[in-house]
């Protein structure tokens, strides 16, 4: 053609050619056949066979090093079955997941840490109920109360995956031994110990609730843990389901009791400043002064073990360890607060169900636990596969059938309250606002 004489027209031709090329290139998908299938170590995955080359996408909030562990944990499964798992972790998972789902771009599976969010999707009709195999597997392997958290209106949607135990107080066994302090076994002991430590010039407690978008959550854990100790689990359930108002006198009482530690200038905030510094201290940094002797105790979940700098010995005789957040009335038993994430499905293709079933299986939980820093309520987990002492303790607590376990209340509530006004209210509370107006504000936001 006569028109194509100038150099820039060469670009145009290249462009058109490129379009043609890209159209043909799409046809050559890579369907690599798994060569391991049939070998001895793949025998365990026989029941998931038959989906070779299929893709399953998973979306969650877990990123970086932990995401690498996740991908390693199911690598044998993907090698053996040929199912390709496309994992994506996002720091703003909770905000982005609804956007993706409403936008028609839902992942096949998502790991949702909030039963409240599971309920929201289930109510909107976005979730697929579990397949028969998954359901059987989940019912066999997981405790009934955990399944309850994944159930909405009688239908099981979420399979519990990872878990953590929140009722821990981190301390330095070395420092305690040096100063002759004993690990408290009751609330009164703990207060007495706090006074002793405060008198010695060290701030007994440190805390931090800054967590970016989620600022405030560590304080909600405090309230929940205290409420479980001052009231019965039934009251706790009524509170999380809004059967009693948020500013019920019993809740006010629990918040005030938590305040005797959290809002006590004599106790707070080791290494960071006054009570108000709790609001601006990042939760990940808050407990670190435990290892430097600037504060003695830090209430935080089992996963806090990962926050200590490399080289910190996390053990009963090391630089950091945790004791059970003591009961107030020993007669009421040892209640435990915990949390975890749930695997929910937005698609019910057979390969998606296969992956969902696999994630509830003993093969998976043991494979993941062997990689370290992970706990689950799944009773097929062999405690021998758990290395860290604090994780071992957590597994024992989770598998203890006689124990009273309750799920993180703010995660059970609707997001507008649990991840909204409750967090915000706690920030204001720490910043000096009184208990009554804060709880009244949260109550009025719960519709």
């Amino acid at each position: 053609m006569a028109v194509f004489t100038r150099p820039r027209q060469a670009f145009a031709i290249a462009g058109v050619l490129g379009l043609a090329l890209s159209a043909t290139a799409c046809g050559t998908g890579d369907d690599k056949k798994s060569d391991n299938a049939g070998s001895a170590e793949c025998a365990a995955y026989d029941k998931y066979e038959g989906h070779d080359g299929k893709k399953v996408s998973i979306y969650a909030s877990i990123r970086d090093a932990e995401a690498d562990l996740l991908e390693r944990s199911w690598s044998q499964f993907t090698d053996c079955t040929g199912i390709e798992i496309d994992y994506e972790g996002n720091a703003e998972f909770e905000a982005q997941l609804p956007v993706r789902v409403d936008g028609g771009n839902a992942p096949d599976l998502a790991f949702v840490p909030q039963p409240g969010l599971v309920k929201r999707f289930a109510d909107a009709g976005k979730l697929k109920s579990l397949g028969a195999d998954t359901k059987t597997m989940a019912e066999q392997n997981l405790p009934a109360d955990w399944l309850k958290y994944g159930t909405v209106n009688g239908t099981l949607y979420g399979v519990p995956l990872g878990a953590n135990v929140k009722s821990f107080v981190w301390y330095s066994p070395k420092l305690f031994k040096e100063k002759g302090w004993a690990v408290p076994t009751s609330w009164d002991d703990m207060i007495k110990l706090s006074d002793t430590i405060a008198a010695s010039g060290v701030k007994p407690w440190c805390a931090g609730i800054e967590s970016g978008d989620a600022t405030g959550w560590p304080a909600t854990d405090w309230i929940e843990d205290v409420l479980l100790r001052t009231q019965t689990p039934e009251v706790y359930d009524q509170w999380t389901t809004h059967a009693i108002p948020f500013n019920d006198p019993r809740i006010v009482d629990a918040v005030n009791r938590a305040g005797t530690i959290l809002k006590n200038e004599k106790y707070m905030n080791g290494g960071f400043g006054g009570v108000k510094s709790i609001g601006t201290t990042a939760f990940g940094e808050a407990g670190l002064p435990v290892t430097t002797g600037k504060c003695a105790m830090h209430r935080q979940a089992s996963f806090y073990a990962n926050q200590f700098p490399e080289g910190t010995k996390v053990a009963e005789d090391g630089d950091a360890f945790a004791f059970y957040f003591p009961a107030i009335d020993p007669a009421k038993g040892k209640p435990v607060l915990g949390a975890g994430e749930f695997v929910v499905a937005y698609a019910d293709r057979p390969e998606v169900q296969a992956v969902q079933t696999y994630l509830a299986s003993s093969e998976y939980v043991n494979s993941r636990a062997k990689l370290g820093n992970w706990v689950t309520a799944n009773n097929k987990l062999d405690i021998a596969n758990v290395a860290s002492p604090i994780d071992k303790l957590s597994v024992q607590i989770l598998q203890d059938k006689s124990g009273v376990f309750r799920f993180d209340g703010s995660d059970l509530m609707p997001a507008a309250v649990g991840a909204g006004t409750f967090w915000k209210g706690m920030v204001e509370w720490i910043n000096g606002k009184d208990t009554a107006p804060v709880l009244q504000g949260i109550e009025s936001s719960w519709k």
Partner: protein
């Protein structure tokens, strides 16, 4: 670090597809831009030749063909505007009259909530404080600076110093200022502001916790970023004042003060309005600074950040949409004022 090319192959493949698609789209557009006008030109040429050969007068240039041509180029823009702006705006408005899950109509309940909930009223007041202070202070600061450094020695250096923060993203700037405001209870202060306070013998403070001081401190960040923009535009406007006017004023013996109010200010009025309007709209939309610095806690939230929280984090679509609509309504008068001004200038 190990890097296995074979393992990353899918990513490279994706990258290649992206490159090819880019070349295809851009190349295709270039081709169109080249071929279509060339075709028109050749047709015109042929008509000219035919006209000169036959001796008949040239056929009148038809507007119709060109209108179609213009439409052809306008169409993608119109389409994208519809998909990206008009339809979402209508949808958001509709959602603002619905409940949290966008299932049932609730009438004006979301708007009622917006003006009765004390924390949201606080958000509206904060936004008002932002919108009043940022354009005012940033424009004033930019103007004074532009006048002071005008024709001074090292003018370029002085101007670039103020302009530099413009190059930093809002999030980056907020992080920088968070360090300025940082607080350490005991030991050395790592925050500049607290260090200054301590060296003057004061007590370190948690700046971002105290309302309403914290909102003002966040506004400082915005002014820090935007003053450079105001300064550059106003400085250009000052330089554009015709030399003979300035000279005439000098001959008349004006004082610097009169020079500023009688000559400079009237001459740069249009530029001042543009700067103020641009800053007002930018301020109404402020989100990054609040989210990065305090995440809306401690009574610092503004409409845009509250809208995001309500709609995306709390799942309150109706309330989030109502805030979005309100923000939109706030922007409209500013835009109308700007358009009227432009029109007046064109006529005048």
């Amino acid at each position: 670090m190990e890097f296995d090319f074979a393992e990353e192959q899918p990513k490279f493949l994706m990258l290649m597809y992206g490159l090819i698609a880019f070349v295809a789209v851009v190349g295709g557009l270039l081709l169109l831009l080249d071929v279509v006008p060339a075709w028109f030109a050749r047709r015109r040429e042929a008509q000219l030749v035919a006209a000169s050969v036959s001796g008949t007068p040239l056929p009148r240039r038809r507007k119709q063909g060109e209108g179609l041509f213009a439409l052809f180029f306008l169409l993608p823009t119109l389409l994208l505007l519809m998909v990206g702006l008009v339809v979402p705006a209508i949808r958001t408005t509709l959602l603002s009259f619905m409940d949290a899950g966008s299932n049932n109509w609730v009438g004006l309940r979301n708007y009622d909530w917006m003006f009765s909930d004390s924390s949201i009223v606080r958000v509206l007041i904060n936004t008002l404080v932002w919108v009043v202070l940022v354009p005012l202070v940033a424009t004033a600061f930019g103007l004074i600076y532009a006048v002071l450094v005008d024709k001074a020695r090292f003018e370029a250096v002085a101007k670039s110093l103020i302009f530099l923060p413009m190059a930093i993203s809002f999030v980056g700037a907020s992080i920088i200022w968070k360090f300025v405001y940082a607080y350490r209870g005991d030991g050395d202060q790592i925050g500049l502001l607290n260090q200054i306070v301590v060296s003057l013998g004061g007590e370190p403070k948690q700046w971002l916790l105290e309302s309403p001081l914290n909102t003002l401190l966040l506004i400082v960040i915005m002014i820090w970023i935007q003053a450079g923009f105001a300064m550059v535009v106003l400085s250009a406007a000052i330089k554009a004042i015709p030399g003979d006017i300035v000279e005439a004023a000098r001959l008349d013996g004006v004082s610097p003060w009169q020079m500023f109010w009688r000559i400079t200010m009237p001459s740069i009025r249009p530029a001042l309005i543009v700067v103020a309007v641009t800053l007002t709209i930018a301020t109404l939309k402020v989100f990054d600074i609040v989210r990065t610095s305090t995440n809306g806690n401690y009574d610092t939230s503004v409409i845009a950040s509250e809208m995001y929280n309500q709609a995306f984090r709390y799942g309150q679509n109706g309330q989030g949409s109502a805030l979005a609509v309100f923000l939109f309504v706030l922007v409209i008068p500013v835009v109308i004022y700007q358009i009227r001004n432009l029109r007046q200038q064109r006529e005048g």
